[in-house]
Structure formats: structure tokens, C-alpha cells
């Protein structure tokens, strides 16, 4: 994982703070591994990265170089799980990941004091409420990871934080007990019932929204989950932001791989004015937005879920929820 310093003969400076550009500041930083540990089915990797720690905001991600330089593997994007800002010149960034391929397999092999090449923080962060608000955080699998950073920031703003976390099994929940410490209440669901309520986070969402008097919803997890959370939040008129995941090559806006269909702001306004803002049958032209620079955080109702294959959610009287997914 350690990457040698680039040849100095060319008069090039070492990785350094970025110059002022059109994009929000991101930097490249060679980070020392502070700790790596197993967390259930996942790995949590803490990296000494003061420049990125200083700039990072909840919902943003880092691009991590994996593999030997000669192997020319693409960087891997990981949302920031937590930040330790510490004193001057000290700061660390923690990411969480699951081993799913060669990049994450190699990343799981790093050891304390190894060097890891990071670029970040990247992407649009979660919007924080101006005033204290009741915030419901909904996480699926390791998608829960960035919500911890968000929860810390929300609590610092005197917001009430409630968590709903779900996964296939108890072992695939991410730090559920730590979530409990950050939140007023914690609801857990698992597909197999091995922890909490058997079912999906979306099964308990209406109840939790009502019980916590949520004024904001923040969600991160699998796209089908985000589709339902967005629809439910819209139907109950609670503003909702989602952090999406789409396959990326660069993370910096160059390659246009990681796009999702979104409603352009003007069209959104028109739809809202017409009182049809959440009408899934509306045929508003969408544009393909890069999740790396226009996201990964989007307003839940800005994403064209129907185009992504997720049909409407209907909230029936009496609070029953129904959703159809296109094949």
C-alpha cells in the first residue's frame, strides 16, 4: 500500500494543499494508517490525514489508492465514517468498508504505519439544519457509516438525533451499539430477524417518523432503500437527503461514469408550483448528474427514482406502505 514519494528531480512539490479552484477544496495526502480493525462483517480504517480531517464535512468521501503503483488500479471511493480533528497538525479520518473485490481485499491488508494515498474530501456534503431540528438518520448495512459523522455534527448543533439501522443479519449491522450512544432512540431491523425487528428499515419508517417527530431525514444505504425512504419522506412532507452510491472511476468529476438521473432545479420548482412535486407519473425531463461532484448527497425528491427502476411508493390511509419495484 505504501507508495513511494514521486521523483523530486522534476521540481514538483510533494502532495500539497490544492490551489483555489472552481471546486470546493480537496487535497491529496499520504496518510499513515493509525488503526485497522474488524467491525462485524466490515473493516474500519483510521488514517492520519490532518488536511482532509480539517476540511471534511459529513456525507463527503475520500478516494483511496489501492494496489501497487505498477498495477494501475483505480482509486476506491469511501464515505467518511468519522473525523478526529485533534490539536494543530493532528487529525485523522476513518472509513469503513467491506471486502468485495481486489481493491478492498488489498486495503484490508494494510497495517499501522503503512502509507495510504488519499484524495479528498470530495463531493457535496449533507445539508445541516440552520436551527435545532429533530433528525432521523436511516442507514442500511455499511451505509450507516457516514451517518455517525453526521450525527456528531447534528448533536453539536443541538439537534435531536434518532437512528434506524438495518442489515441482512445481525453481523452485517454496522456499529449498532455505537449508534445507540449517539441517538435519542435506535431502531434496528434485520432481514432474518437475528436482531431487532424482522424486515427492512422501510417497514418501521412511518412509525419512527411519527414517534420521533422528525423534521429532517438523512439516509445512506442501498439504492432500493433510498428510493423508498425518499418517497416516504416526500409523502409525509419531511425534507430528506440521501447519499447515493454509483460506480465511480475518478471521484473528481472527470469521467462521467457515476451518473444518476435527477430533476433539474428549474423543473423541480415548476413541479412544486404545479402541486405535482411528488407525482411519480410526471414526465419531467431529467439530466444525468455526476454523483461524485453533484452528489453523493442529493435531495431525496431530486432523484428520478422511477427512471432508476423504482416504482412509486404509496402511503395508504392507516399508515400502510406499499411499493412496487420494476423488474
Amino acid at each position: 500500500m505504501s507508495r513511494p514519494e514521486e521523483p523530486g528531480a522534476a521540481g514538483l512539490p510533494p502532495p500539497a494543499p490544492a490551489r483555489a479552484g472552481a471546486r470546493p477544496a480537496a487535497v491529496q495526502e499520504l496518510a499513515r494508517v493509525f488503526a485497522i480493525k474488524r467491525v462485524g462483517a466490515y473493516h474500519a480504517l483510521s488514517l492520519v490525514s490532518p488536511a482532509i480531517a480539517k476540511l471534511a464535512r459529513p456525507g463527503q468521501f475520500v478516494e483511496v489508492r489501492t494496489g501497487h503503483p505498477s498495477s494501475f488500479m483505480l482509486r476506491r471511493p469511501f464515505s467518511i465514517h468519522s473525523i478526529q480533528r485533534g490539536g494543530p497538525g493532528v487529525g485523522s479520518v476513518e472509513i469503513a468498508f467491506e471486502v468485495v473485490g481486489p481493491g478492498t481485499a488489498q486495503l484490508a491488508e494494510v497495517r499501522p504505519h503503512d502509507q495510504v494515498d488519499l484524495v479528498g474530501p470530495l463531493g457535496v456534503p449533507f445539508g445541516l439544519p440552520e436551527k435545532s431540528a429533530n433528525c432521523l438518520l436511516v442507514g442500511g448495512g455499511y451505509g450507516t457509516a457516514p451517518l455517525f459523522f453526521l450525527a456528531e455534527e447534528l448533536r453539536a448543533r443541538r439537534c435531536r438525533v434518532d437512528f434506524v439501522v438495518g442489515a441482512a443479519t445481525e453481523g452485517r449491522l454496522f456499529k449498532a451499539m455505537d449508534a445507540k450512544r449517539l441517538a435519542q432512540t435506535l431502531a434496528i431491523t434485520t432481514d432474518d430477524g437475528s436482531a431487532g425487528t424482522r424486515g427492512l428499515v422501510t417497514d418501521v419508517l412511518l412509525d419512527v417518523l411519527a414517534r420521533t417527530r422528525a423534521e429532517r431525514v438523512y439516509a445512506c444505504g442501498p439504492m432500493p432503500m433510498l428510493a423508498v425512504v425518499s418517497r416516504v419522506a416526500a409523502a409525509t412532507r419531511v425534507p430528506c437527503e440521501v447519499a447515493v452510491e454509483e460506480r465511480m472511476a475518478c471521484g473528481t468529476g472527470l469521467c462521467w461514469s457515476c451518473v444518476i438521473p435527477v430533476y433539474p432545479p428549474a423543473a423541480e420548482q415548476a413541479r412544486g408550483a404545479a402541486g405535482r412535486r411528488f407525482d411519480p407519473s410526471a414526465r419531467t425531463p431529467t439530466r444525468m448528474a455526476r454523483t461524485c461532484v453533484d452528489g453523493p448527497v442529493f435531495d431525496g425528491d431530486a432523484v428520478a427514482w422511477r427512471e432508476l427502476g423504482y416504482e412509486a411508493v404509496r402511503v395508504h390511509e392507516g399508515g400502510q406502505l406499499a411499493m412496487e419495484l420494476l423488474p
Binding site: 528531480a9 472552481a22 471546486r23 460506480r247 472511476a249 468529476g253 462521467w256 451518473v259
Partner: protein, 317 residues
């Protein structure tokens, strides 16, 4: 036009090159589709100091591109099927070009048309844009809607586009060709005879990858363009063949360049400049690093300019 380029010097090396009449601060450009519109990495590289920014290909009308997944990693490279997503020429001129002009970058505007006539209209539209230093004709995108839009697959079709463009273009015109042909030299000769001021070799190679678990293609578009170090030997071969057949024609070599020595390989076989593509995805400072490493390489072999390199090539092992 943009301000005079600042020479990039390392020791006694002067990296400046003249590409089809346009002086560039270094021979290392950002390749089309791999460097956005320049602003994306403006925080990491100093745009006036890079050789040039080849923009994402611009079409007459906005293009939405292909569905996702658009990208699949492959050994030492990647496949992409973006499908030429771009905001269209008017939005490009209104929103992107002013940034590049203001930043002081050398601008190579890549254009894509569905027909030769569309290419000509684009050239005419851009002829009045002083910030555009060169035009690159994307005659070879493997993600075009139909195979006949890969104009560079056929010498006559490619030459027709170049001839029509040259009637309207005010900037030097580079034709970007594909290696996915039986006789690349024939295509190169045809476009040069039609008036192309230079060539860009090569575009991505048409490829495909399958997920054996799902038993489906890895790309929504099924096929896509292969890029990265995996294709570099093909690109070097193409530059070599064409430079032999058409001495004196400026060539921008492109395909898998990630280091200064990779760039030197292309210059040795006859390229005037190089374009760095996929490496920008991995290393946001790739353009400056490749240029710096190239300067260090030139100094190490006691040469003062990139142009001198080709003359030192020994064609036998």
C-alpha cells in the same frame, strides 16, 4: 487568443513544443473525456502550465449519454461507455470555455458529430471562439450510436469529415483515429490528404467484459472503450507506423500514459506531443507529474527539448 505560454524548464530542459502551429508549454495534454473541462482538477494542477486541455467531446445538441453501469475496471485499465454525454456546443461556449480562457489554459476542443455536416457546423460555430487553440475531431469514439459514426473506420468517410471541417475551421484541425482498423496508415493518409493538420493516436479500443456471477455484461451498453496502460503498446505501435508513413505530420500520442517514461516512448517513435487520459482518474496531478518526469528523463539523456528525442530513436533492438 490566450497569453503566451510560460516555458516549463527543468535544469536545462525546455519542454515547449509546437503542435500544428500552436505553441504549448509542455507536450503533455489532458486527453478528451479524461480531463473534464479543466475546472475539475483546477485545484490540483496549474492549468496554464499544462500542455493543454483536450475537452470532453462536444456535439451540436446536448447528449444524455448511456445508462449505468458506464465503467468497468479491467487489468491495468478500464472499459467505459459514457456515450458522449455533454452539454452541447452552446452551453460549452457559454459555461466552460470562459473558465478555460480565464485560467489561461491551452484549449483543444474535441467535437463529435453524427454526420460530416454536423462536424462542419461545429467547426464553424467554434471558428469565432478565440479561446479555442485547436480542434480535435473525434472520428473514432467506440461509444457512438452506430458503427457508421465511427468515421475513422473508413478512409473515405474520415476524409469527408476532415474536408468539410477544413472549409470552416479557423483553428488547426487534429483528427483522432482508432486502432480498430485493418490499415490505420490508409486512414491517416486519407485524413492528411483531406487537410488534417495533425493526428491523435489512438482512441480507446472497443472491448467487452462479462460478470460471470450474474452472467451479464459489465457495461449497460454491453461494449465500451478500453483505456489505460493495457493499451499502451497498441498506441505506441500505431504512432510508430503512422510516423514512418507520414513523416512531418504532427501526432499526439495517447493510450495508457501514466509516467514521464511512458510519454518518452511515444516521443521516441515520432509523436510531437502526448495526451494523458485514464491516469488522471488515479492521480489528479498526473499531467504535471508526467511532464516533470519527462523533463527529468530528457535531462538524464542529455537532451534539451522533447523534439530532439525522436532523432535519437534506434529502430533496431
Amino acid at each position: 487568443m490566450s497569453a503566451a505560454p510560460r516555458p516549463a524548464r527543468t535544469m536545462n530542459v525546455d519542454l515547449r513544443v509546437n503542435l500544428a502551429g500552436v505553441e504549448l508549454p509542455t507536450p503533455v495534454l489532458g486527453a478528451s473525456g479524461c480531463f473534464g473541462f479543466g475546472r475539475e482538477l483546477a485545484g490540483f494542477v496549474d492549468l496554464p502550465r499544462v500542455g493543454g486541455v483536450v475537452t470532453k467531446s462536444i456535439s451540436l445538441e446536448p447528449r444524455r449519454g448511456r445508462p449505468t453501469p458506464r465503467m468497468a475496471e479491467t487489468p491495468a485499465g478500464m472499459l467505459n461507455a459514457i456515450g458522449l454525454q455533454n452539454p452541447g456546443v452552446e452551453a460549452y461556449c457559454a459555461n466552460e470555455l470562459p473558465f478555460l480562457a480565464e485560467a489561461g489554459a491551452r484549449v483543444v476542443t474535441s467535437v463529435f458529430g453524427h454526420t460530416a455536416r454536423e462536424f462542419a457546423i461545429l467547426a464553424e460555430r467554434l471558428s469565432g471562439e478565440g479561446a479555442v487553440d485547436l480542434l480535435e475531431l473525434n472520428l473514432s469514439c467506440p461509444n457512438a450510436d452506430r458503427r457508421e459514426q465511427v468515421f475513422a473506420a473508413d478512409p473515405a468517410a474520415a476524409a469527408d469529415v476532415v474536408a468539410k471541417v477544413k472549409r470552416h475551421a479557423r483553428q488547426p484541425v487534429l483528427a483522432k483515429l482508432t486502432a480498430d482498423v485493418t490499415d490505420l496508415v490508409a486512414v491517416a493518409k486519407a485524413v492528411v490528404d483531406a487537410g488534417a493538420d495533425g493526428l491523435v493516436l489512438i482512441n480507446t479500443l472497443l472491448g467487452m467484459a462479462v460478470d460471470v456471477r450474474t452472467r451479464r455484461p459489465k457495461l449497460a451498453a454491453v461494449t465500451g472503450g478500453l483505456s489505460g496502460p493495457a493499451i499502451r503498446p497498441v498506441a505506441v505501435r500505431c504512432v510508430w507506423q503512422v510516423a514512418q508513413a507520414l513523416p512531418g505530420v504532427p501526432i499526439v500520442g495517447s493510450g495508457g500514459i501514466a509516467t514521464g517514461e511512458d510519454a518518452a516512448e511515444f516521443l521516441l517513435v515520432g509523436a510531437t506531443a502526448v495526451a494523458v487520459g485514464t491516469a488522471n482518474f488515479v492521480e489528479p496531478r498526473a499531467l504535471e507529474m508526467v511532464a516533470g518526469e519527462l523533463a527529468a528523463y530528457l535531462a538524464s539523456v542529455e537532451l534539451g527539448t522533447p523534439k530532439e528525442l525522436a532523432a535519437t530513436f534506434k529502430a533496431q533492438v
